[in-house]
């Protein structure tokens, strides 16, 4: 159901220590990427409560990105592992709800991976664009 001129609204949660820093590095390196993402900063991806994600879809966000430190790099020892477990479960639930898997994505970005951050954003934006708006 690809719609022409559809600009997805995507929400990204970034942890303060790795992925948010990575996003900043994309900036300092002037790497250009799609302007469809709005970032919310949390201290650790472990902070992210499934409610936040569900609420986002509820208010009409088209896609949600969770970006944490690479496994092993977590500033809070192992918060990102806990996130991984949580998101895994949540995804199951979403699929039961019939919400496309691509609308929720968990990925890792280190503070040195500005380029990676940008390509994840672009990739996500394209996928959501392909899926079309989230209308329920």
């Amino acid at each position: 159901m690809k719609k022409s001129g559809f600009e997805p609204k995507i929400l990204a949660f970034c942890c303060n220590w790795c992925s948010y820093a990575g996003a900043d590095l994309a900036g300092t390196s002037r790497i250009q990427y799609a302007p469809n993402v709005r970032v919310i900063r949390v201290m650790c991806s472990g902070r992210i409560d499934p409610t936040f994600i569900l609420r986002a879809f509820q208010v009409g966000v088209d896609g949600v990105l969770i970006l944490g430190c690479h496994p092993g790099d977590c500033h809070y020892i192992d918060g990102n592992y806990k996130t991984a477990r949580r998101i895994h479960m949540l995804k199951k639930m979403l699929s039961q709800l019939g919400i496309e898997d691509d609308r929720l994505r968990l990925d890792w970005v280190s503070a040195a991976e500005g380029k990676r951050f940008a390509s994840i954003i672009n990739d996500m934006t394209e996928r959501i664009r392909a899926l079309g708006p989230f209308v329920r």
């Binding site: 609204k9 929400l11 303060n16 948010y20 820093a21 996003a23 900043d24 994309a26 900036g27 300092t28 002037r30 790497i31 250009q32 990427y33 302007p35 709005r38 970032v39 919310i40 900063r41 949390v42 201290m43 650790c44 472990g46 902070r47 992210i48 409560d49 409610t51 936040f52 609420r55 986002a56 208010v59 009409g60 966000v61 500033h75 809070y76 020892i77 192992d78 918060g79 806990k82 949580r86 940008a118």
Partner: protein, 559 residues
């Protein structure tokens, strides 16, 4: 929320932001949003005049929240927080909106979209700001005393350093004498000076230091309290003693593996360990003419994968001492890799070669074999680099075995709620940059309790640990950011999920008037929020990142 008065300051950052984003437009937009009573834009908000403007406007417009939309909080948040504090506004009522690093710099070709995104971000920031609450940085007093567990070279060095800085030290050693492993050693590499030349003067200084209370034949029985304020119970031969300390240094050392049933150890009379050889060398060597040493006995094997770092040097040192005592003696060191890292060790290895010590490399798939009945007469080794078996005459076989962690590291780790690593040595907070710290504040580790180390390395770690301990001791308090979790006791069901999840052991289940409740030691909380995300009854709120705050941001994303 009606009484909330928000001020918005938007930065041009020269052309960095204004070159892409229509800053005036965003400013005007901000003014239209609820609770915003003031908005301005500056060339550089972080410049002297930018900052003073923030401080001024807080007064003029009685602002109760401040938002700066600019570069990135990672570098500039502290700066703007100070500007708020200067005007008497709690620094946690400040919110940063990132419109440079994550907006203008990454959408340079799409000014309209960038401007739109900036508006969204500002709107989201304002939504959160409305709900922000003042927080206080937590300050916990620190008992100005330090408990050092272990009276070896590590413990004593740490104790002495701190004592010389004027702090009160309790040095606890479970044996009846101070000195630890060094008491059983002969000479130390690379200077070959006698172990007692190091340990005796150190012990004297420690014993005679007014700030150090030495407790030998004593064990730590219990540790209560929390960071900065520990109530420690000592057990001196059944006699209990209670002390209060603010910091704890774990310097319990390690022990040498006894290679039971390997290469005839235990049943052949002329097979000994390096440690036993040290004693022999101490009491003047025997007249053995052919000495064979086998390295890595019980190390770098599937069951015990690690390399114990110092054993190669121990073997080489003892080989050299034998040669110096009797140049005619033949000494072979059978090894798998010679770990003589750095300047001094490599030089010592050369010295051994000059003295005629011979080194033979063997591999794990063809281990050396012993020949002889009640005594080892010869050692057969497959010389990897010659591709043939060599038979070495042998009057004495010395087995080089690794350092292994003490059994009771378990108890200590449980008592202090600090972790052990995979091999049973203590686990530091961060392998690279926090080698002598634990994830828990005010508890530190040094020496072989952490990992096998040479004497100088151990002393360095001891000093490092005392440097870390000296910080809270000197300050008299530990401060941590107000960004911590708190429990709403009415909602808490006492399920204990948070207790398990907390990476810092900051949460424990406490029973309060018959009800089990999660209790957070604020000082120990680092504000990751994992607990808040997991709490099934919504009892835990992660301050400054509370559910309402984040949800408000989420909802504000879509108009």
């Amino acid at each position: 929320m009606s009484d909330v008065r928000i001020g918005v300051f938007i930065c041009h950052c020269g052309k960095n932001i204004a070159g892409v984003i229509n800053v005036p437009e965003v400013t005007e937009y901000a003014k239209t949003l609820p609770n915003v009573v003031y908005a301005e834009h500056n060339l550089f908000t972080c410049s002297a005049d930018g900052l003073s403007s923030i401080t001024r406007k807080i007064g003029e417009y009685k602002l109760s929240r401040v938002i700066v939309a600019a570069c990135t909080p990672r570098t500039h948040e502290p700066l703007f927080r100070t500007a708020c504090e200067a005007a008497g506004l709690n620094k946690y009522l400040f919110e940063f909106v990132n419109i440079r690093d994550q907006c203008s710099w990454v959408h340079m070709q799409e000014p309209e979209k960038a401007t739109g995104k900036a508006k969204d971000l500002v709107r989201m920031g304002i939504a959160k700001a409305r709900l922000l609450e003042p927080l206080e940085d937590v300050e916990i007093g620190v008992t100005p005393a330090c408990l050092v567990i272990g009276g070896g070279v590590a413990g004593m060095s740490a104790a002495l350093n701190l004592a010389n800085q004027g702090f009160e030290i309790y040095l606890v050693e479970r044996d009846k004498e101070l000195g630890g492993l060094l008491l059983n050693l002969n000479r130390l590499f690379t200077s070959d000076s006698k172990a007692e030349e190091v340990i005796v003067p150190l012990t004297e200084k420690v014993k005679n230091h007014q700030n150090i209370k030495v407790h030998t034949s004593t064990e730590v029985k219990g540790v209560a309290g929390f960071i900065g304020n520990f109530d420690v119970t000592l057990d001196q031969k059944g006699e209990e003693k209670k002390i209060k300390v603010g910091t704890i240094i774990v310097a319990t050392g390690a022990e040498v593996l006894k290679p039971v049933d390997q290469y005839g150890y235990g049943d052949k009379s002329n097979v000994i360990t390096q440690l036993e050889l040290e004693e022999r060398l101490n009491n003047g060597v025997g007249d053995e003419q052919n000495i064979v040493m086998i390295n890595c006995v019980g190390a770098r094997i599937p069951e015990r994968q690690y390399c114990s770092r110092i054993c190669c040097m121990v073997a080489i040192k003892n080989a050299v001492l034998i040669k110096e005592n009797d140049p005619r003696a033949k000494v072979w060191v059978l090894h798998r890799d010679l770990m003589t890292y750095g300047t001094e060790f490599e030089k010592y290895y050369q010295k051994a070669m000059e003295k005629g010590v011979r080194f033979i490399r063997y591999s794990l798939d063809k281990l050396p074999e012993i020949v002889g009945n009640n005594k080892v007469k010869a050692v057969k080794v497959y010389h990897q680099l010659m591709g043939k078996e060599i038979v070495l005459p042998c009057d004495m076989l010395v087995l080089t075995t690794p350092l292994i962690p003490h059994e009771d590291n378990q108890d200590i780790s449980r008592m202090l709620r600090v972790s052990l690593g995979e091999h049973g040595f203590f686990l530091e907070a961060h392998l690279k940059l926090q080698p002598v710290e634990f994830a828990t504040d005010s508890i530190y580790v040094c020496g072989c309790a952490r990992w096998p180390a040479s004497v100088p390395e151990t002393i360095s770690q001891a000093y490092a640990a005392s440097a870390k301990a000296a910080i809270p001791l000197r300050r008299g308090y530990i401060r941590s950011e107000g960004i911590t979790a708190s429990v709403d006791e009415d909602k808490c069901s006492g399920c204990g999920i948070c207790v398990l999840l907390c990476p810092y052991n900051a949460i424990e289940s406490q029973s309060k008037d018959g009800k089990k409740l999660a209790h957070i030691t604020t000082a120990q909380c680092k504000g990751c929020g994992t607990c808040g995300a997991a709490c099934p009854s919504g009892a835990i709120s992660m301050n400054h990142f509370r559910d309402e705050e984040i949800l408000a941001q989420v909802e504000a994303l879509v108009i």
